[in-house]
Symmetry: C2
Subunit: 415 residues, 2 copies
Amino acid sequence: MEIPRGLRTYIYDQSARKRWVEERLLKVFFRWGFQEIVTPAFEYLDTFSEGGNGVSTDRVFKFTERGTGKLLALRPDITPQIARTAATLLKDSPKPLRLCYCGNVFRSADPGSGEGQELYQGGIELIGLDSPEADAETIAIAVECMKELGLDGFKVAIGHMEFIKGILSDARLNEGLQEEIKLKIQKKDASGLDDVLSRCPIKNEKKDGIRKILNLFGGKEVIDKAREIADNPVSLRAIDNLRKVYQMLTVYGVDDSVLIDLGEVRGFGYYTGLIFEGFIKGLGSEICGGGRYDNLLERYGAKIPATGFAVDINRIIDVLEKEKKGKSDFMIDYIVIDFRDDKKIAQEISHRLRERGYKVARDIIKRELLDSLKYAENMNIENAIIMGTGDIKEGEAVIRKISTGVEKKLRIEDL
Amino acid sequence: MEIPRGLRTYIYDQSARKRWVEERLLKVFFRWGFQEIVTPAFEYLDTFSEGGNGVSTDRVFKFTERGTGKLLALRPDITPQIARTAATLLKDSPKPLRLCYCGNVFRSADPGSGEGQELYQGGIELIGLDSPEADAETIAIAVECMKELGLDGFKVAIGHMEFIKGILSDARLNEGLQEEIKLKIQKKDASGLDDVLSRCPIKNEKKDGIRKILNLFGGKEVIDKAREIADNPVSLRAIDNLRKVYQMLTVYGVDDSVLIDLGEVRGFGYYTGLIFEGFIKGLGSEICGGGRYDNLLERYGAKIPATGFAVDINRIIDVLEKEKKGKSDFMIDYIVIDFRDDKKIAQEISHRLRERGYKVARDIIKRELLDSLKYAENMNIENAIIMGTGDIKEGEAVIRKISTGVEKKLRIEDL
């Protein structure tokens, strides 16, 4: 039986790795004083379209509500749901709110695209502050998550939505040209950018300024270079904001994981200020990303600034799988094999070991010892406890380590 | 902004309680040697309709797949997905498989029904064995789950699909009458049952036998009473099977939590043998349920017997909420409030405490101390660490317990 493309079933080491990643992410979030929120897997489509979450509406799975015919949508993104909750249910709660989550999101993908249709994400939202402190805290947590997951060579690239926006709107270019320019800059496509600029009715000086954005990538020094290009109050404020956040990141001691990339423009429609993406060595696509979204909550009825980020759990699982790292202990400690008809002792031993925290399966099928041992090997079981066969006397048991075959005889009461 | 009926957002103590329940369930499942499986939130509708899972098809949320137009369905039940995986991906794995899960299922509900449309379930599937040992293990785990959750007065009512089936098919009644009779018996509706029986073309002796099923509810003695009524090989085998399972439950020491209820017929279409439901004092509806489904895997291509059960996490959360029990520690240990401009020390202290496992929020907003303390009280924060204000000297901090207001001054290096 076939299952739809872009969906995965996780089992054994895969589910163990997924759980390991999620537990570690939540541990970091909790440590920073964030509290969990669990939102429904679907809502009215309005929640997401009004949120302008940048996942185009035709990638949202839609269906109708029984009795009303209203359009429901599988969530393509959890941030709009938390924004909705913060702007309604938690509107009058003191701020800031520190909320975190782990869950799945859904994005319809074309056949052959190879894209996942169900993605797992963990993330935080820091709601109620528009200060650089809040942006810095968010980035510091992202860096700590990657350290906690043991991902080496992790870098965060920081950009700012307002920097380019200021330069382009100062040039009084129409929306279409602005979007074309942004796309070329994001793709670091110099000749493509020249092409677009040749069609722009602006001074050569201004064109030079726009071309220089392509080089605004690197360390702290990029902030000063950007300051020189900024020829309008919006871009200047953006650079000032970026500088303050960077300073705070040195207080957090994470500045060595941080790059500046002012050509970066995140796709999601709701970002308004500082944005960032996280990368690791050898993986082209980002494994986390986020930023400031000061206008999103207003769409749900309360003008409250906010920032946050989400981690792409699927990609992290893939990386850890390749490096054979990071999975919770999914091995079963013991299988209890008792050949006698009376299962009381087998059950008592299993119970006693479980009480002490061990994972114990009982071999409740009649078969040869060899078959049971082969089963144990296949099913990730570490040791067998064998009773009631061969030269194992009443009151005795043999513990066999499956991987080595080493056996040890002992009295049952000593187990 | 409105959200659809029958959906919940969990926050603060609610999400903490949900997490607490799920962690405890998985702990029990793992302890018994079960391993986690994570299945996709939706699949082709076929997986569920072929599974005959008893959730009527019009309660399944359906939508179409991009590019193919095929019907997709939000899973109304996780068991068919695991059965599918076991019959395909894990077909050649040695048996038994011990698989467990925690996840959400979706069931479209009528307006005004008050029913949830997204339900959380945790459960196990023990696949590959048709022996009473497997049924007994499943029930023993259900009992242990309820103990682990601290639910008092928990009882499991055990029934058997084949017992009534044998009696009714022996009576050669048509399908319609059989269904009517089953429904009346399930509802323990004696006069309704009389009504249906008056329309049945069978001997009075047989009618008396069917009426007696209503009384087949109680302790171990019910097994003997049922033995007397069983007038056909199918029912006799069912009783024999039930007796063996019951005997094993005494080995597990859980027989005092077990009742026999031979009038019980679970709604789900795929059950074939021993079935059970779990109840707690003061709650009318069951909080867990399951049983044997020996024909389900065949629908996905492999004839393999299986048994399992699922826990209704939403109902358990409601019960624990009412009793003010069972939630993971969601309180934040400290809020660090530093009135000085240089945040280095505040950040260092926060970092140090987080390293030691504490949950620490920093107060990164400029406001009066009183406002910060009010915030802490509202946001489930236990202690405030205050620096740089009033008579608190350089190098000193005050720790204030929010609930009592008791303060203690100490040197920052001793924190």
